[in-house]
Amino acid sequence: MRASLRINPIACEAHGLCAELLPELIRLDDWGYPIIDESEVPADLIGLARRTVDACPTLAVLLDEA
């Protein structure tokens, strides 16, 4: 199974929780908005990625699981 992570930039309000919960995949830019360098989520991080999706206050983290 493949999972890929993306941000809905319209919904994102730079709360920054995602980078705290998932620093392996998400870092913040100079204004606090998330940067995802590698969108593919390794199998061992999928659980954490799902939790990050749920934690975002504006539901801006999207996990496409195919």
Binding site: P9, I10, C12, D29, D30, W31, G32
Partner: protein, 440 residues
């Protein structure tokens, strides 16, 4: 019916029907120039468009047949939308087509609508495009044999409002801002239906392919880039205006078409404000062809070519443009809002000599970081422009730091379009330029 032949050979093609005097062509004159609207089966039209190699002329350069197919394969297809927004400030080609040759665009729209199973055409134009609105109203009122209904919607003119999801969003809910894609308009567009949205020039070209066939279409241009294109040539040329040229034409012939440079040139901006600066010496050897343009990280984009004379300052002009692009952000996405503003402020500081040359690296890092992080491609186009500006004019940063910039403003058009209603010339060119106030 078999498609093919009967078209005139050589140029002009699209602009063949332009009337002297500046008015919109009548339906009967249009039929005299191009012949009647062909009766062509949907699958046959799509195949012919595919063979022609036609690509979208709104900037994204996407193969038109693939878009047609993607919508034709779906059910409950929504209206075909003609994206006549033409929000690129220097561009004048779509307004020229809609204002002077509306029947050619409407022919293409009707044919494309039938090919994908759409029962309606909506033409969206900027609410300041009065000549286009007038010509469309007149044209629609005399077209009585179309099997699809045609309507016109005028909307806001901001740069981003021409992006396709913003056009659909505007038609759906009067908000001219992009939406998160996917779903793209061809999946879920107007009222949730699969929606084909095309640039007016794309449709005008399609109307000719439908009449005269792909073999005729390929008589001009190169194998990879067949046909002709409308190019708005402006800046330091003697006769700025919209010209129809064959793909494969050299840059120097393009400039010659616009009367030649009005002073020695330092650079060309190819593709409008999402485009790239190319040093004049590197540009003259290029042809209007994707392979040539790609070799210098360019594309034809919206078909705008701006010549920058030696007397102007590329850094200053670029700072003005990126400031404009930053202001044009739809204000929805953090990286676009804050990133473009920071980049614009820093480029402006570099141009006025108050920033350290090292700030340039910060701009390049920001540019890399914000690419791909907006809901739409606005930030991507803007940073592409900035990167090319620093590549081509970066050498001037040091001299600006030392206070040396004796350049004259070139006045690249910003905000609302700078080209007045065109008059007929060797090709088609604007009589004068009016510039409206630009908020800075």
């Amino acid at each position: 019916m078999s498609v093919g032949d009967g078209g005139h050979h050589g140029l002009p093609r699209l602009l063949a029907g332009l009337e002297p005097g500046g008015g919109a062509i009548t339906l009967s004159a249009h039929a005299r120039v191009h012949g009647p609207l062909p009766n062509i089966a949907p699958h046959q039209l799509i195949e012919e468009v595919e063979r022609s190699g036609l690509r979208g002329r709104g900037g994204a350069d996407f193969p038109t047949a693939r878009k047609l197919r993607a919508v034709a394969d779906r059910r409950r297809v929504g209206p075909l939308i003609v994206n006549g927004s033409e929000t690129e400030p220097a561009s004048a080609k779509d307004r020229l087509l809609l204002g002077r040759l509306p029947h050619l665009v409407l022919d293409g729209a009707v044919l494309a609508a039938q090919a994908v199973g759409a029962s309606e055409v909506i033409v969206k134009v900027g609410d300041g495009a009065l000549d286009a609105l007038r010509a469309l109203d007149g044209a629609i009122s005399v077209r009585d044999s179309d099997r699809v209904r045609i309507s016109v919607v005028a909307g806001p003119e901001g740069y981003v409002s021409g992006e396709e999801s913003a056009v659909v969003h505007y038609l759906n809910s009067q908000v001219a801002k992009p939406t998160l894609v996917p779903p793209r308009p061809f999946e879920r567009g107007y009222r949730g239906r699969p929606t084909l949205i095309q640039n007016p020039e794309t449709l005008a070209q399609l109307a000719l392919v439908a009449r005269f066939g792909s073999r005729w279409y390929r008589e001009l241009g190169t194998v990879a880039d067949p046909g002709s294109a409308l190019v708005t040539i402006t800046g330091a040329v003697r006769a700025p205006g919209v010209y129809e040229l064959a793909f494969g034409t050299s840059m120097s012939d393009l400039l010659a078409a616009a009367g030649g440079p009005s002073e020695p040139l330092q650079a060309l901006l190819v593709g409008g404000y999402f485009g790239t600066w190319v040093d004049a010496s590197a540009a003259v050897g290029l042809r209007l062809a994707r392979e040539d343009l790609r070799s210098v990280d360019c594309s034809l984009g919206s078909g705008v070519l701006i010549a920058l004379g030696e007397s102007a300052c590329g850094l200053h002009e670029s700072a003005r443009v990126i400031t404009y692009l930053a202001e044009q952000s739809a204000g929805q996405c953090g990286p676009c809002v804050y990133g473009l503003r920071a980049i614009a402020d820093t480029v402006a500081a570099l141009a006025s000599g108050v920033a350290h040359a090292g700030e340039r690296d910060r701009v390049l890092r920001w540019a890399q970081e914000i690419r791909g992080r907006g809901a739409c491609h606005h930030p991507d186009g803007a940073v592409r422009f900035v990167e090319s500006a620093l590549r081509v004019f970066g050498g001037d940063i040091e001299s600006h730091r030392r206070g040396r910039c004796g350049a004259r403003p070139a006045g690249l058009p910003l905000g609302e379009t700078a080209l007045a209603p065109p008059r007929l010339g060797a090709s088609e060119r604007p009589a004068a330029r009016t510039r409206r106030r630009v908020a800075r």
